[in-house]
Amino acid sequence: MNRILAIAGTEARIALRNRWVSIAVAMMALFALVLSAAGSTPTGAVGADRLSVTVASLTSLSVYLIPLMALLMSFDAVAGEVERGTLPLLLTYPVSRAEVLVGKLLAHLAILALAVAVGFGIASVAAILQDRAAVAGLPALWRLLWSSVLLGATFLGTGYAISVLARRPSGAAGLAIGFWLVAIVLYDLGLLAAVVADGGGAFTTHVFPLALLANPADAFRLFNLAASQATGAAAGIAGAASSIPVWQSLASILLWPAVTFGIAVLAFRKVTP
């Protein structure tokens, strides 16, 4: 445990020096402020408290932003050590490769959690200040917070795996951005196109829900929107949230971090420095 904490401490310090902590926190705070300002229009038609509406907006924001931040923080984790030439020495220390990755994960996850907590905190304070009844939305916000951290963990694990496999930071950066584009943007577009083409056939009823659950970002969106009362405020694919049981999306967001991190550790074990 001490060894993991040693790696985590060093990693956190490096992230602090590289301004990653301030960048992540500032990014989340800024977006939360913008969303709060945009969401201050009357919400009577939806019939939900102001914070629940904010949570719905924050969910859509987090789906894009958190995977991006996680991948940007993690793509350098192994490839950077390889390129700097620091990996061989580290691996001669009495620390296992899994411990090295767990240490890095702890540090990066703490930074993500901090950024998310600050951003969501700002948004919730803004909502409650405008409408005291918004306190009713706090459970939804809490759920969004921890599921965001889990979403971050999934993409941190993906980033480490990419970092191990690419071996070079430049290649890893390209792969990470490409992965983000495919998993977060193109995946949903493709599904939408398929649903439209299918016109309510077998694909829409059988394959589509599974396809949503298979993507950690979509599962995250489903979980938060289905669990909150503000489903009506969300549009597009999120409308499918009502048809998929919450436990399924919850299982998906719980399972993915373990899967991606497991792949990263297995790949890292095969690296010969």
Partner: protein, 298 residues
């Protein structure tokens, strides 16, 4: 005598090309061993196998009584890689603190370790601002953590100036006196002269020589060079007395085997006042090194 490191018939092939063939070696506690060889001779490969960083094809490797790279071995072995690197955003103190924690030691010892390698003043600066020699010292400081039983140092003195180099060897002497085994590599025999107990020469993955400097000198049996400067006017006479000598300016250069050295000297001394000066040049360390590393026709 306890053995810290044993290699038996170690063989390693990289994509069909032999990197190490049939290398055997044992290092006892407190012994300082220098590993010499050209670039690509297999020095770094051998070190990485000892550290468990890369697997070997055949042969036996025992490090501090355990398998290379095992938890036990890693606890007792310290490593200084060639061209050691650290994260540029960390300070020297922070980097050493991190390594101390990884070995389960109190991070408060970082400053003392940096003092020991002569880096106390720069400890609070970021490693990104360090010179190569300073990074090398940070590397050395981390290798000193927790009384390692075996230190594997890959070209530890590259980037160090002559004074630091001497300090470095003094530090190694202290460690060896406390019972640590030291395996260090170098390009040059001149550098490790007198500071190591044993010298190994690797050439294209084969161990071509092993022994003390005196052993190597004897085995190489390279000729001794005698430079004779005749007195003005007596050149012809001296040259006639030393028929095997070659003329080099005003000097006569005589090359003879170790065993014939005294006889040749006696002949020169017999010339008395006709000889103005005499120099005896034993084979240089570079000569001995190239003799061994070129012996197999490289």
């Amino acid at each position: 005598m306890t053995l810290t490191l044993t290699l038996k018939q170690l063989t390693k092939t990289y994509q069909g090309a032999p990197a190490l063939s049939d290398v055997s070696l044992s290092v006892a506690a407190g012994e300082r061993v220098a590993l010499l060889g050209h670039n690509g001779a297999g020095k770094s490969t051998m070190m990485k196998i000892i550290l468990g960083l890369i697997p070997h094809d055949s042969g036996e490797v025992v490090v501090t009584g355990a398998a290379p790279g095992s938890a036990v071995a890693r606890r007792h072995v310290a490593y200084l890689p060639e061209n050691v690197a650290f994260h540029p955003a960390l300070t020297g103190v922070e980097q050493i603190q991190s390594y101390l924690r990884l070995r389960g030691h109190d991070p408060a010892g970082a400053t003392a370790l940096l003092d020991r390698v002569g880096l106390h003043a720069a400890g609070k600066r970021r490693i990104g601002t360090y010179s190569k020699g300073m990074r090398q010292r940070v590397g050395l400081a981390q290798a000193l953590i927790g009384q390692p039983r075996l230190l594997v140092l890959d070209e530890p003195t590259s980037g160090l100036d002559p004074v630091s180099r001497r300090d470095f060897y003094a530090l190694l002497d202290g460690l060896a006196a406390e019972g640590a085994s030291i395996l260090l590599s170098s390009h040059a025999l001149t550098e490790v002269e007198a500071r190591t107990d044993r010298i190994l020469i690797l050439s294209r993955g084969r161990m071509v020589a092993q022994g003390t400097l005196a052993d190597l000198r004897r085995d190489a049996a390279l000729p001794v060079v005698l430079q004779v400067t005749p007195r003005k006017g007596d050149e012809a006479e001296v040259a006639a007395a030393l028929p095997s000598a070659r003329r080099d300016g005003a000097m006569l250069v005589l090359s003879c085997a170790q065993d014939d050295k005294l006889a040749a000297l006696a002949r020169i001394v017999a010339l008395g006042e006709r000889v103005a000066d005499l120099e005896v040049l034993p084979p240089s360390l570079e000569d001995i090194y190239s003799h061994f590393s070129h012996r197999d026709g490289q």
